[in-house]
Amino acid sequence: MTRVIFPVLVVVAAIMAFWYAACIPMNIKFALQTAERQGAVISPEGVQARRDMSAFVLAARNPGQWAQTWEQAKPRLPAPHQIVQELWKTTVDVKPTSKRSLVFHGWVTLSATLAGFAIGSVGGILLAVGIVHSRAMDMSVMPWAIASQTIPILAIAPMIIVVLASFGVQGLMPKAIISAYLSFFPVVVGMVKGLRSPSAMDMDLVRTWSATRAQTFWKLRLPASVPYLFASLKIGVAASLVGTIVGELPAGGGQGLGFRLLAGSYYGQTVQIWAALLATAVLAAGLVALIGVLERGTLKRMGLSR
């Protein structure tokens, strides 16, 4: 564990240093404009004169304004501490049930993600079972499954939402279905691989015992596929989350981290965008880690880890 923590800390520290440094050229123009308006002496004077100058030159000529680049309300690039403050404000300082709480929105997104992930992985597993057992399905479905993933989901997401709404399906479900659409594919691919992982010898062996297809499935294929299943579930859950966010974008005006992202972009609230982004990443990392824990537990129980 400590073998990892120290290098990670070093890398994170390096990123932070770079980040603060990057804030200066990114935000300097606006900082100078504000400062000038408040009467500070800026070189060169006047928005017009600075319009086409390089941010680096401006930063170099006005070192006195650097601090300002880390404190703007709507910066191009918010400084890390601003994001942390925003996160703090929207998680700890407000009730978790409040609409202003990221915990609340995180929960909404999470529940749609989990629902979508459940649909997607169950669907993916069933499809994989079909593909493994039916040649016709194998040959016809697989190429189209790949093609389906090249469709820009964001383009059809609104249509899915509209069509489902006309059937009275609203709220969590449309998002979950879009999220399922993104998560089923890695699960299908992984499960097909896993269900086919028993060697020819393994398959022959159960044949010598005159096992039925169902017995072969439950006693050989399924257990053999477990490691593959977990590997693809990890990819699938991350994809699920992206799907939920994508499903939230066109819907507009609802609850969830995706809306926070979008609302942030409508009102130029960059700090809010970054906070929502970070919250999403934490959620994704958490979900993947959770599956990792389940994986380790299951594989250990199955005697597959050593």
Binding site: S199, M201, D202, D204, L205, V206, R207, T208, W209, S210, A211, Q215, K219, L220, P223, A224, V226, M302, G303, L304, R306
Partner: protein, 260 residues
């Protein structure tokens, strides 16, 4: 020998259809195996030993000739669970304990729970693995795994035991030891055994009948009935009779061997 043969092949042919054209794996194979025989198949790589064993086990379908097992077709025999099959690698399922692995065919064949446990105990004992039932395969050495795999093939008490190079992956000394064990087992149970091997001493040491095959297309070039007694200590391998049979096998092999 006495009575009807347990396994009988008459003019057996098998041709695989491959992308590069047909491959004739077996041609005009004739053989009788009687109850209680220990038959070894030896021959260069690719000569059809495995294919023949698989035909008996109904894992391949011959393209010509006739093959009967206990008077039935191989597929009927398979469905009647007439044999246990041991592959070269132990092929134990890593997610099941040793006992779980041995229980697997019993579950599939629908043995009652209580009997399953009893049988597992019995065969574990038979291969000298009592006490290892709760271990996972990877916690055992290669030799022990191979014994567990034999135990698994024995558990449902089929009359015929087919083994395809079961000890190919083991080192010579462990192999010697397992050879002794198999012989003891055979003596104790009186099963009919078909055994594929690459090793001349192993074939001679174990068998009552040695079938020498030659490749492309796989034919039987020699069938040697062993005059060795049933009781065989390891150092029988230095005896003149042993060496003589070994010599005959080697000559038979040499004759039909292409090196690559």
């Amino acid at each position: 020998m006495n009575g009807n043969p347990v396994i009988e092949a008459k003019h057996l042919d098998l041709t695989f259809q491959t992308n590069d054209g047909p491959v004739q794996a077996l041609r005009d194979v004739n053989l009788q195996i009687h109850k209680g025989d220990f038959v070894s198949f030896i021959g260069p790589s690719g000569c059809g030993k495995t294919t023949f064993l698989r035909c008996i086990a109904a894992l391949e379908t011959p393209t010509g000739g006739k093959l009967t097992v206990n008077g039935m077709s191989p597929d009927e025999a398979r469905r009647a669970r007439a044999y246990g099959y041991v592959f070269q690698a132990a092929g134990l399922y890593p997610w099941r304990t040793i006992a779980g692995n041995i229980k697997l065919p019993l579950e599939i064949m629908g043995f009652p729970k209580s009997e399953q446990d009893a049988r597992v105990e019995k065969v574990l004992d038979l291969v000298e693995l009592s006490g290892f039932g709760k271990k996972f395969p990877w916690q055992l050495s290669g030799g022990m795994q191979q014994r567990a795999s034999i135990a698994r093939a024995l558990a449902f008490d089929a009359d015929i035991l087919l083994m395809d190079e079961p000890f190919g992956a083991l080192d010579e000394i462990v192999r010697d030891h397992l050879n002794e064990e198999v012989l003891k087992l055979w003596a104790r149970t009186g099963k009919t055994i078909g055994f594929v091997t690459h090793s001349i001493p192993e074939a001679v040491y174990l068998s009552t009948k040695i079938v020498v095959m030659s490749p492309r297309p796989g034919r039987i070039t020699d069938v040697i009935e062993s005059p060795l007694p049933k009781e065989r200590p390891l150092d029988i391998r230095d005896s003149p009779e042993f060496l003589e049979i070994a010599h005959r096998v080697r000559d038979g092999l040499r004759a039909g061997h292409a090196y690559d």
